[in-house]
């Protein structure tokens, strides 16, 4: 069990409005990712759900019960922090069991849950160690374990992978995905990394400047972005935006094409241009082409493609996957 309703939540720090009215529905068992650039309010929103920040106005409900003014410990949540936030003076076992001890869980039950969680996260050899004796990846697993033993209604993750190196990040991401599948618990995950958002989420919430830009499944956001911001934020490399006036399109302000929806040809095509730079990644090649009509474009070609900087190429967009946005940034159907 664990549904979450956020009802017109606003938050201001002094004169600065960080959240400008957030409405959101999270169903039981969903994996929801809040994503957005730094300062968009995603962490503040998570902290409001956790009860670590007060709302300026609006309500937060967990399982239908209003928890807007309930202290964090009584909300039935568990949180995993970016900096792990393990208690430095306690062993791994004590770190995991502290929250249960606080609410008076019988020792046997604590023992059982810690054993189950440490087996799940392969932490058994480290149970008697202190956090200082663990590596970054192990520490984050302990932090996840500490959340798991509480059997919360809601798991909250605040950029849990940001402090890990690239290889560990992929592994831990996989572990979190498996954890979600096994526990079938509701999870809310905050990140600024759209790759984490795309790979983990059932539902992505894109935030920008204190507002929700779009809510949807990863592929919905990729295929049908509601506006220019979402189109630019989801997808890597970033979508190319071209001034519509240059292309002679009257009804739109901006035209957007993803790098992977552009094709190149040496002989003919829509836009003639010069190769500025080529990035060879093995599996694919990113070309930066300065076109006469559309300006500098990023083109992603699958596989290896040899293009000398300075050579001439013709770039052609896929008309079915070209997006048009109006002056307010909204996508035109």
């Amino acid at each position: 069990m664990g549904s979450l309703t956020i009802d017109n939540v606003k938050k201001s720090f002094g004169k600065v409005d960080v959240l400008k009215g957030i409405d959101l529905e999270v169903k039981d068992g969903e994996f929801v990712v809040f994503v957005g650039p730094s300062g968009c309010g995603k962490s503040t929103l998570l902290r409001i759900v956790a009860g670590l920040e007060d709302t300026t106005s609006g309500r937060v409900m967990i399982d239908g019960a209003d928890v807007t003014v309930t202290p964090p410990a009584n909300r039935g949540i568990a949180m995993v922090f970016q900096t792990y936030a393990l208690y430095p003076h306690l062993t791994v076992r004590a770190n995991m069991s502290l929250g249960l001890k606080q609410i008076g869980t019988p020792a046997q039950e604590i023992e059982k849950r810690v054993a189950a969680a440490s087996a799940m996260l392969s932490l058994e050899p480290y149970l008697e160690r202190r956090p200082a004796e663990l590596s970054g990846g192990q520490r984050q697993r302990v932090a996840i374990g500490r959340a798991v033993v509480r059997e919360p209604k809601l798991f909250l993750f605040d950029e849990p992978l940001s402090n890990l190196d690239a290889a560990l990040r992929v592994n831990t991401r996989l572990e979190i995905a498996q954890l979600h599948r096994r526990l079938k618990a509701t999870m809310i995950y905050v990140t600024h990394d759209q790759v984490e958002a795309m790979t983990l989420a059932d539902k992505i919430v894109v935030l920008n400047a204190g507002r929700i830009e779009q809510v949807g499944a990863p592929m919905d956001l990729y295929n049908k972005p509601a506006n220019e911001f979402v189109a630019g934020f989801i997808g890597s490399p970033k979508m190319n935006f071209i001034d519509a006036a240059k292309l002679g399109e009257a009804q739109a302000k901006t035209v957007g094409v993803r790098p992977e929806h552009l094709t190149v040809d040496t002989a003919s095509g829509a836009w003639k241009g010069t190769v500025v730079h080529a990035e060879h990644l093995g599996a694919d090649t990113n070309l930066y082409v300065d076109t006469e009509m559309a300006g500098l474009l990023t083109v992603r070609i699958f596989g290896v493609y040899d293009a000398e900087p300075g050579s001439t190429l013709y770039v052609t967009p896929d008309p079915a996957r070209t997006y048009r946005f109006d002056a307010d940034g909204r996508r035109l159907a």
Binding site: P72, A73, I103
Partner: protein
Amino acid sequence: MSRATSSLPRTIGAHAALIAYTAIALFPVVVIVINSFKSRNAIFRTPLSPPTPETFDLIGYTTVLNQGDFFLYFQNSLIVTVASLFFVLLFGAMAAFALSEYRFRGNTMMGLYLALGIMIPIRLGTVAILQLMVASGLVNTLTALVLVYTAQGLPLAVFILSEFMKQVSGDLKNAGRIDGLSEYRIFFRLVLPLVRPAMATVAVFTMIPIWNDLWFPLILAPSEATKTITLGAQLFIGQYVTNWNAVLAALSLAILPVLVLYLIFSRQLIRGITSGAVK
């Protein structure tokens, strides 16, 4: 230091400067200690030479231990210092935690107000303090001294500790809140252990002026029963005749406890001083 960044002349130069500084700093202490073991004539004739079998004399120490109640003075000093230290650290850390952790109206103003005491010497208020103590019947009690020293030590303690507490990870405190720890447990169990070096720094800076103070014991608690060691040592300084043996012996003895406390804190202290610099 790595070999690439050190050179012999520079190492010698640095050590020469440090040794010279150590010698200057230790000189008065050494003079006091060696002369405390000499006879009166030897103190005046050869003040800089260490005691020889002919000049060695424990008269100073026997005078100190027989005359006046020196153990009581010691005890008074120790009680006042330790009690003041305890209250300064406790209240200072609590105020610092509140200032660094909670957002409330007037937070900055409150911080400035609490730090104001660093700039205004508490001795300016001596007359008012004396009147206050007379009115509340605390003259000639150790409580009076503890109260005054706690007030004297708090501004610096709040100032230093709030800076350090700001560095304690907010996530850690929040993890404690989610696990259902009370604010007091978060403060005592999570935050205090992490700012231990800063606490040691504050402890040393607070302790030494209190131990060495002559002013407030002389004014607020000059009675025989409440004399501190610094005040007690004045017993041997007369208008016409000063018992130098006894004065030097009393001072040598007075160095000991503060030295012990310093050694206890010093390991932490060094970490406290350098922790902001290297990170």
